[in-house]
C-alpha cells in the first residue's frame, strides 16, 4: 500500500488553524499581562513568559488532537450518511478488509450468534476500474456521446436500482461460471460495463456481458461478481487485490453487547477498512454501506 497523501486543502486548513491559535496565544498574553499598575504589569509579564511558551506548545497538541478527532468523526458520519440508503438492511459492511481479518471477523461474528454473511474479493484498481450498469445506461452513454455516465443516469438509470453504476467483486467460483449480478441491473440476461481510467475517471471502454441474477442482498455490495479465474476477469484485466468486502447481514439482530464486541473486533482487525452499519429493516433508513452510489 502506498503512502497516504494528505490533500492540500486539509494541509492548508491545518496550518491556518494552527496559525490562528498561535496568534490567539500571543494576543491573550499581551491582553492578560497589561495592567495600569506598573508593578503588577511587570510581575505578570515576567511570570507569564514561560506560560506563553507552555501555551504555544499546548496549542499544537490540542489543535492537532482536536483537528484529527473532528476530521475523522466528520468523515465517518459523512460516509454513514451517504451509504446508509444503499446498504442491505440491518447489515454491517466492511470494505477493504484483508482475507485473514475477514476470516477472523466471520468466525467471531458466528461465535456471537450471527449466521448470514457474504464476502467478495476486490480487484486491483490502481490503473483502471470496471463498473457494472445496465445495457441501457451504456447505450445512452454511447448514443449521447457523453464523457461521464452521470450525464445520462437521470434519463436512463433503472428506477428500482439503488446503485445504478456499481462496483465489481471476485469470487473463487469455477472459471466457467456465469457472472452473477444485482438483478435490478439485468435486462434480457445482460448487463453493461464501464471501464474507467485511474486516475482521472474518464471512460476508457464500454461493454456488455451475459450474466445471471445473484440471489441475496444487493444495494452497495458489488453489482457484479465474476470468477477470479474466468474469461471476463482475464479480458478486463481483473487481478485480486487481496482485500475483500464483507457483509455481516444479521448484524442488527445481535444483542447490543455482541454488536459492541464486533465493532471492537473491527477496530482491532481492520481499522483501515471502511465500515458502515445499516439500521434494521423498517427503520428510518433501511439500508447502508461504504462504497456508495456510482463508481464506488
Amino acid at each position: 500500500m502506498g503512502a497516504r497523501v494528505v490533500p492540500p486543502r486539509t494541509f492548508l486548513a491545518y496550518l491556518s488553524g494552527l496559525a490562528v491559535a498561535g496568534g490567539a496565544a500571543i494576543l491573550l498574553w499581551v491582553l492578560l499581562t497589561r495592567s495600569r499598575r506598573q508593578a503588577l504589569g511587570r510581575t505578570l509579564r515576567y511570570t507569564a513568559t514561560p506560560v506563553l511558551a507552555l501555551s504555544l506548545v499546548l496549542r499544537v497538541l490540542s489543535f492537532s488532537t482536536a483537528f484529527y478527532a473532528a476530521g475523522q468523526t466528520h468523515r465517518w458520519q459523512a460516509t454513514q450518511a451517504s451509504s446508509n440508503p444503499m446498504q442491505p438492511a440491518g447489515s454491517l459492511v466492511v470494505s477493504g478488509v484483508s482475507q485473514m481479518s475477514r476470516r477472523t471477523l466471520l468466525r467471531e461474528y458466528r461465535d456471537h450468534g450471527g449466521a448470514a454473511a457474504v464476502h467478495f474479493g476486490l480487484p486491483v484498481e490502481t490503473r483502471h476500474t470496471l463498473r457494472v450498469t445496465t445495457t441501457r445506461v451504456v447505450g445512452c452513454f454511447v448514443d449521447a456521446g457523453a464523457t461521464d455516465p452521470g450525464q445520462v443516469l437521470d434519463r436512463c438509470a433503472p428506477a428500482r436500482s439503488r446503485v445504478p453504476v456499481n462496483g465489481i467483486g471476485l469470487s473463487n467460483g469455477h472459471a466457467g461460471d456465469v457472472p452473477q449480478v444485482d438483478p435490478t441491473l439485468l435486462a434480457h440476461g445482460q448487463v453493461g460495463l464501464f471501464d474507467f481510467v485511474v486516475p482521472g475517471g474518464q471512460v476508457r471502454a464500454t461493454g456488455q456481458v451475459r450474466a445471471r441474477p445473484r440471489p441475496g442482498p444487493v444495494g452497495n455490495l458489488p453489482g457484479i461478481v465474476v470468477p477470479a479465474s474466468g474469461p471476463l476477469a482475464r479480458r478486463w484485466g481483473l487481478q485480486p487485490s487481496g482485500t475483500e468486502v464483507l457483509a455481516l447481514l444479521e448484524f442488527s439482530r445481535l444483542p447490543a453487547p455482541d454488536q459492541a464486541f464486533m465493532r471492537g473486533a473491527l477496530t482491532r482487525l481492520a481499522d483501515g477498512a471502511g465500515a458502515g452499519a445499516a439500521r434494521p429493516a423498517g427503520g428510518l433508513g433501511d439500508r447502508a454501506g461504504e462504497r456508495g452510489r456510482g463508481r464506488g
Binding site: T47, S55, A66
Partner: protein, 115 residues
C-alpha cells in the same frame, strides 16, 4: 475510524493534562520567591488567586481558541454535507481547563513559613 478518533482525542487529552500538570508544578516551584514576597507584603489570598487566574487564563483561552480553530479547520477540510464532528475534539481543551483551574490554588498559596 470512529474508534481511532476517540482514542486519539483521549490520548491527546491525557498528554495535554500531563504537560499542564508538569509545567504548572514547575511554574509554582519557580515562582516561589514571588509567592513568598506577596505573602510577606500581606497581599490577600483572593488577590493572589486573581494573579494566578490571570496567568492560567492564557493557556485556558489558547486551548479554547485552538480546539475551536481545529473545528473550523476540520469543517474547511470536510465534505460540507451537514455531517457532524462529534464532541471528542473538545476533550483536550476541557482537560487543560480543569487542570489549570486546579493549579491556581497551589500557585496562590504562600510557601510554608511565611504567613
Amino acid at each position: 475510524m470512529i474508534g481511532l478518533a476517540n482514542a486519539a482525542a483521549v490520548g491527546g487529552s491525557a498528554l495535554v493534562l500531563l504537560v499542564v500538570v508538569a509545567a504548572g508544578q514547575a511554574l509554582t516551584a519557580s515562582q516561589r520567591d514571588l509567592r513568598q514576597v506577596l505573602g510577606l507584603l500581606g497581599v490577600r489570598r483572593s488577590r493572589r488567586a486573581v494573579l494566578g487566574a490571570r496567568l492560567y487564563a492564557i493557556p485556558v483561552g489558547v486551548q479554547g481558541v485552538a480546539v475551536l480553530a481545529a473545528l473550523v479547520s476540520a469543517w474547511f477540510a470536510g465534505v460540507h454535507d451537514g455531517s457532524g464532528f462529534g464532541w471528542a475534539w473538545a476533550l483536550p481543551a476541557l482537560a487543560a481547563a480543569v487542570t489549570c483551574v486546579a493549579l491556581v490554588g497551589p500557585f496562590s498559596a504562600v510557601p510554608p513559613g511565611v504567613e
